[in-house]
């Protein structure tokens, strides 16, 4: 419980830090949001600034932003009239979430399966080929993989569409590109923890009882070997999320990642600010849930503080 309390406090503090830092950074950037366009008449510029409260003193803007944030209002977009950051997130986040969940499911299932096989067939060809593949997946950046997949399947073989979102064919390539790196990592993690578990005494006991190998692996080894993978879930989600910036951009998937990248190029302050805050809060919350889950799963760990030392 003490842990729960302290973590909540850390998260609240971190979130406040995120908002403040993002706000400061956004307002330090040279050239206002309307600077990049062709020169506007002074009157219009002043009107625009009036409308978005840009000529209020900074502390007022900051205060307003914080208050609106508490109400869950992330403000309007500067670039697209009549659109709010909330509406952008509401519209595009489901797409990102769908793509992200597909990638997470794929990387977890493929990674755990491949890692287990590699551990069971240690130092045989299955192990070597899986580990070679995993090393490959570990070393090839996602944008390179995305380009490669696109070139092979969309341009050369022409079996899958290269862009957009909606049908299942359109989901295949982005999901693969997004899932490759975490799959490789999970496979390596799973292999090493499985190898360790298989050497434990209780596995020998299970063998001595005459249980089938299949049963031993599924019932006795897997639930214990899977724990490191559970801890990796937090970083996994973060990796998928940041990967989605590039992958959604390349495959023109209309998700939040693509919006984020576009709003950076457009210097659309409130969108950058809003999406960053949203992503940060989302990730921290998920990490928190994962930690609690982990403590519930593994009674040997009463508090994750122990791991720091």
């Amino acid at each position: 419980m003490r842990y729960f309390f302290r973590r909540s406090l850390t998260i609240a503090l971190a979130l406040w830090l995120v908002v403040t830092m993002t706000f400061t950074i956004m307002h330090l950037i040279p050239g206002g949001p309307f600077a990049s366009e062709k020169k506007l008449p002074d009157v219009i510029l002043r009107n625009l600034e009036q409308r978005y409260h840009l000529n209020d003193p900074l502390y007022r803007q900051y205060g307003d932003y914080l208050i609106n944030l508490m109400r869950g209002d992330l403000g309007p977009s500067f670039k697209y009239e009549n659109r709010t950051v909330n509406s952008i997130i509401a519209e595009s986040f489901p797409v990102s979430a769908a793509l992200g969940s597909l990638a997470i499911v794929l990387s977890l299932s493929a990674g755990i399966f491949a890692g287990t096989i590699a551990a069971l067939r240690q130092n045989r060809w299955q192990d070597y080929s899986i580990m070679a593949l995993a090393t490959l997946g570990f070393s090839v950046p996602s944008f390179v993989l995305a380009g490669l997949l696109m070139y092979i399947f969309a341009y050369k073989l022409q079996v899958l569409p290269s862009a957009l979102w909606g049908t299942w064919q359109q989901a295949v390539l982005p999901t693969l590109a997004l899932a490759a790196l975490p799959t490789a990592y999970i496979a390596r993690l799973m292999r090493s923890s499985m190898l360790e578990v298989l050497q434990q005494d209780y596995i020998r006991t299970a063998r001595a009882k005459g249980l089938s190998e299949m049963y031993i692996v599924l019932r006795h080894a897997l639930p214990n070997a899977i724990l490191p993978v559970v801890t990796y879930t937090g970083p996994l989600i973060a990796a998928i999320l940041t990967g989605s910036f590039v992958v959604e951009f390349i495959f023109a998937v209309p998700g939040l990642g693509r919006w984020f990248v576009l709003s950076i190029t457009n210097r659309d302050y409130t969108v950058i600010l809003g999406v960053t805050v949203f992503y940060s809060a989302f990730l921290m919350l998920l990490n928190f849930i994962v930690d609690l889950l982990y403590m519930a799963l593994d009674p040997r760990i009463k508090s994750l503080d122990l791991k720091e030392v």
């Binding site: 950037i29 070393s139 944008f143 380009g147 490669l148 993690l189 030392v309």
Partner: protein, 306 residues
Amino acid sequence: MEIRPQMFQPLPAKRQAEEYADHPSYSYWQDVQKRFMKHKPAMTGLIFIAFLVIMAAIGPCVSGHTYYDQDLSMVNKAPNSAYWFGTDALGRDIFTRVWYGARISLLIGLATSVICLVIGVFYGGISGYLGGLADEILMRAVEVLSSIPFLLYVILLMVLFEPGLKAVFLALGLVYWLNMARIVRGQVLSLKEREYILAARLLGLSKWRILCRHLLPNTLGPIIVTATLLVPEAIFTEAFLSFLGLGVASPQASWGVLVSEGMSGLRNHPWQLFFPAVLISLTMFAFNFVGDGLRDAMDPHLRQEV
């Protein structure tokens, strides 16, 4: 029992020889070196990195083209005898640009690693050695900072700074030192209870001297490993940023810029993507292998399969 003077004769020289070890003794670092040399993937990685460094040094000069010269009559040419890796959409020589990109990317990797090394080692070292309240405050700060999704921060910092090399160093350095600080702190924390530190304190050495002369040198192993593994991560992140248009400014070219440029011409000119992509991937391979090899060589007990 009768005691005779013969019992007190020295043993013949032959018996003494048996007590000598039959091979020379090695220092810790010689041992590390031996184990590292035996680690085949790590040695392959090291050789590749050496090759990369040499090519980064001489590569941009050997083809007779410069990385920024545009030749609009030679746009999008496939690899040929004049342009070994072909040309890009502005008629620039990709061979030259790739090796020039290697300079930038390697520089970013190394510089980030060094920056994090300096910040992380001192922050972690001080936190671990002082302990108590100072440690609590310093580590809480690290905890709060590291719960922020760091890539978002790098992106924001890059939006803020003028694009360019300095911005990349700063943004990556500001973000990546956290892990290093944690590792160093953990090491220092476990080392500072050792007897030799007690001895040093009894001799009246200052805290600073104990930290710098006695604690930090002994944490060198994990520090070197972490720093090595940071290099590919920094290169990777920079490539990622450049890909989003936030990294090094044109006409300078890192591998990320080259990949990003290659991506736009992918359908018709795949070689523009191929060369930088292969180089990035091989470099990641090499540094990861070297890092793994170093970890195994320095700490055979902590050998991990991952």
